[in-house]
Symmetry: C2
Subunit: 128 residues, 2 copies
Amino acid sequence: MDDAPDGPAQDLVADVFARDCTSRAAFESVTAKWASLVLLALGEGSFRFNALRRKVDGVSEKMLAQTLQTLERDGMVTREVVTAIPPRVEYELTPLGAQIAERLRALADLLEASAADVEAARAEHAGR
Amino acid sequence: MDDAPDGPAQDLVADVFARDCTSRAAFESVTAKWASLVLLALGEGSFRFNALRRKVDGVSEKMLAQTLQTLERDGMVTREVVTAIPPRVEYELTPLGAQIAERLRALADLLEASAADVEAARAEHAGR
């Protein structure tokens, strides 16, 4: 297609393939190593920091804290202080975060169901 | 739930949260920085190497080659030599790769549609 004439409409088309598009940055942010697992976990309900750390097997305290900060900055996770004795902090998904988690869950379901196929492909490849 | 008695059934439950599960490795492999964009691109059709490199804005030759090798090993992408003059190599998705690409596309669609919300969240966060 020829270039469209200059106009604001051009700037409104988001494209994950474009290096400088916010959607590309957001896509990379939610598919980042720990972020995707944290979003999946929070898709099951709200979590306190330590419970979340146990759920996401292998994440370090530092990486989990950084990941939660990024997800909070991007409007996907909220940090809520629950007034109780003692007060506690809980993390939960925003409506956008919940939509993202749903799509990541569909992907995770597929890969959980296909784990044996991936194993078989790897074994076949190694045996070539 | 209490621990189930020992038995082979326990080993058959794939769980992306478990560090040593194949599904976790597969999930990390398809959400890796370039792999997810390559799968999305191949979801639109088969590509030759250089065309794929242009499509996935910002990927280096080396990273694209490595990514394709990993996806081929995991049974998600095939490399096909097309008999023609001159012969050419094309990359395309396997049926599993196509299912994965569909789910990644659903995620990318959402993030493309939410780019403005993510921008707004970041701006609000920066202004706090």
